[in-house]
Amino acid sequence: MMDKPLNNRAWFLVLPVLVVVAFSAVIPLMTVVNYSVQDTFGNNQFFWNGLGWFQEVLESDRIHAALGRQLLFSAIILAIEIPLGIFIALNMPKRGFWASLVLVLMALPLLIPWNVVGTIWQVFGRVDIGLLGHTLAAMGVDYNYVNDPVDAWATIIVMDVWHWTSLVALLCYAGLQSIPDAYYQAARIDQASRWSVFRFIELPKMAGVLLIAVLLRFMDSFMIYTEPFVVTGGGPGNATTFLSIDLVKMAIGQFDLGPAAAFSLIYFLVILLISWVFYTVMTAQRDMP
C-alpha cells in the first residue's frame, strides 16, 4: 500500500449536500418532531408532553378507521393498476407511427394536475350535468357518489385508474422494449406457450421497472389527498376520508398540532415500512443464487 494522507478534512466536501438536505428535509421534519412531543394552550407557550400524542394517535378509533380505508384503497389500486398496466404494455404497438401515437395518448392523463383531475371527475360523475352520472342515471342505474359510499369509492378508484395506469403501462413498456428479438425467437424455437413467454422472458425483464411501478403507485395511492378531496371531500360521512384527508382535518381544521404531528410521523413510518416490505419481497427472488 502506498502512504495515503489520512485525515477527516474530506468531510467538508459533503457539507454543501448536508446543508441542502438539512434545509429541505431534516429541519422541516424536526419541527414536526418538535410539535409531536409538546402541548400548548396558545400564546406560543409549549410544554413537554412525552409520547402522549403518539399513544393517543395509536389508540384512536378514528385513525384506525382511516388507516383501514387507506390500506383497502391502496390494495385495490395496486390490484387493478399493476395487472392492467402490464396488460396494456404487452398490447401496445412496438414501433412505428401507432407506437408514438399511443405513447402520447397514454402520457396525457399523467400531465394533468391533481386538482384538475379531481374537478374533471367531480363534474363527469354528477347526475345532473355530468356525462357519466347522467348517462348512468338515464340507463336506470342508481348512481350518486355524493350520497352512496359505494358509488363514491367506485368513482375515486376509477378516477385513479384512469389517472395512473398509464404510468405503470409506460414503465412496463420501457422494460419490454429492452428485450432483444432473439429471446422471442428462441422461445418460438423452443415451442414455448404465450404464458411461458410472459412468465420466463417478459416478466423477469420487467421485474426492475415493475418494482419501481409498485413502489410509486403504493406511495402515491397511500398519500392520496387532492382528488378525493375535490370529488367527495372525504364523504359521504367519513367513507372516503383517507389518512391524508384526516390528517389535514386534524392539523388545519381542528388545529390539533401535537396529535397531527405524531400522526404525520407514524404515517411516514408506515409508508416506509410497507415500501421496505415490497422492496424486500420483490428483490428476494433476484438475489437467489
Binding site: A182, Y183, Q185, D190, S196
Partner: protein, 360 residues
C-alpha cells in the same frame, strides 16, 4: 428428420423491392439431404442468417417455398416446424436453473418427467455442465450461457434439423474446438440434419460434409470442402477459402496460353476466346519460386508460420502469394515464379469457365 428443399427462394426486407440491392436473398434453389452436415459460409451481411431464419420460420420468405421432405412448410409457424436453432449470442431463461433451461423445450413438448431427466443429464454431460445443473442461469459467464443455448438446441431428439447461427462467437478458443468436436460427434451419433452458419472457413470446412458459400445474397457455390478448394466456381470462393486465398491475375487468353503483363503462361488445355474480364487464379501452394524463366515476381515479405512459409509479393502490380513447405529450399534472390498449369483456373467476369475439350 427430413430432407430440406429450398425452391426458388428469395427474400427482401423491403415491402416494395426495386433494385438488386433490395434483395437480401436472391432467388436460390438448394436441396439438403436428410442427415447431412452443412455449413453456410460467407462474410457478414451476405444473407446467411436471413436464410437460416427462413428455414426455421422466424421469417417468411418474399418468394419461393421451403419443403421438409415432401411437405411444404413455407406458411407453417416456427413451433410447428419442430426445428432447433442456436443463436449467435446466448439466450437463456434468467430465472430458471441450468437444468430447467435444458428441460424447457422437452417440457413444452410434453415429454414424461423421467425421459426429460435422462435426456437433460446426457446433454449436460455433452456440454460439460453437470456440476452447475442446479444453478440459476442468471449470473453465469457468457460462454456458460452459450453452452446452455447449445444444449437447448441439442436436447430434442426428434427435431427436423438443428440450425446453428455462428454459435461459437462468444466461446473461448479452447472450448470452441471442444464444442465443435462435440457437435460433430453428436451428428455422427444421431444423424440430425445440421446447418451451421459461419464466416470462419476453418469452422465450416472442419464441420461440414458440404459447404454452401454465399456472397451478397447469392449462393455462389455448394460443394465438398475439397472441391471448393480445388475448383472454386467464383473468384469470391477462391479468395475466401484458403489461407492465404487464391491468387488472381488479370490476363488475356490465347488458346492454351495466358498472357499476364508481358509474360506468357502455359495452360493445361485450350480455352475459347472469352468476352469480359478474364482472370487466371492459382492456389499459393501450386506456385514454385525460381530464377531465370517464369513470371516476374517482386517479394515484399516472408512469413514463417511453422510447417510452411508464406511469401507475399506482387506480380504485374497485383498482390500474389506463395506457400512453400518448410523442407523445400527457397532459391536465393529469386525473382520469378512458375505456375503449375494443371491447377490454373480461368474466370470470366468472376465465374469459372471450363476449357474447350472438357466442355465438348
Amino acid at each position: 428428420m427430413a430432407r430440406i428443399t429450398l425452391d426458388t427462394l428469395a427474400h427482401s426486407y423491403s415491402p416494395t423491392p426495386r433494385g438488386d440491392a433490395d434483395w437480401a436473398l436472391k432467388p436460390m434453389s438448394l436441396t439438403w439431404r436428410d442427415g447431412g452436415a452443412y455449413a453456410l459460409l460467407g462474410s457478414s451481411g451476405c444473407g446467411k442468417t436471413t436464410l437460416l431464419n427462413i428455414i426455421s420460420g422466424l421469417l417468411h420468405p418474399s418468394r419461393g417455398r421451403v419443403l421438409f421432405g415432401d411437405r411444404d412448410v413455407t406458411d407453417l409457424p416456427t413451433a410447428e416446424r419442430n426445428i432447433a436453432q442456436v443463436f449467435q449470442f446466448p439466450v437463456v431463461y434468467d430465472t430458471m436453473t441450468v437444468r430447467q433451461n435444458l428441460a424447457f423445450p422437452l417440457k413444452n413438448r410434453g415429454l414424461p418427467a423421467d425421459q426429460i431427466a435422462a435426456r437433460v443429464d446426457a446433454v449436460a454431460r455433452m456440454i460439460g455442465m453437470e456440476a452447475t445443473l442446479e444453478r440459476r442461469a442468471r449470473g453465469l459467464t457468457a460462454d456458460a450461457k452459450q453452452k446452455i443455448s447449445l444444449g437447448r438446441g441439442m436436447v430434442r431428439q426428434d427435431v427436423n434439423a438443428i440450425l446453428f447461427d455462428e454459435p461459437l462467437t462468444v466461446i473461448d478458443p479452447q472450448m470452441k474446438w471442444e464444442l465443435r468436436t462435440q457437435l460433430k460427434a453428436l451428428h455422427r451419433e444421431f444423424g440430425h440434419t445440421m446447418i451451421y452458419v459461419t464466416h470462419d472457413q476453418t469452422e465450416a470446412l472442419t464441420f461440414a460434409d458440404e459447404v454452401v458459400v454465399m456472397s451478397e445474397g447469392r449462393v455462389v457455390q455448394a460443394g465438398t470442402p475439397q472441391s471448393l478448394f480445388d475448383t472454386p466456381a467464383h473468384t469470391f470462393v477462391g479468395y475466401f477459402i484458403g489461407s492465404p486465398g487464391m491468387n488472381l491475375l488479370d490476363a488475356q487468353l490465347h488458346g492454351a496460353t495466358a498472357r499476364v503483363g508481358g509474360a506468357t503462361i502455359p495452360l493445361a488445355a485450350p480455352y475459347a476466346a472469352p468476352q469480359g474480364r478474364v482472370q487466371i487464379g492459382i492456389r499459393p501452394d501450386a506456385v514454385r519460386p525460381t530464377t531465370g524463366d517464369g513470371l516476374p515476381f517482386r517479394l515484399i515479405r516472408t512469413e514463417d508460420v511453422g510447417h510452411h512459409r508464406i511469401l507475399r509479393g506482387e506480380v504485374a502490380g497485383a498482390p500474389f502469394n506463395l506457400v512453400v513447405p518448410e523442407d523445400q529450399p527457397i532459391p536465393a534472390a529469386f525473382d520469378r515464379v512458375v505456375l503449375d498449369p494443371a491447377r490454373i483456373g480461368v474466370f470470366v467476369d468472376d465465374w469459372r469457365i471450363e476449357p474447350l475439350e472438357r466442355a465438348a
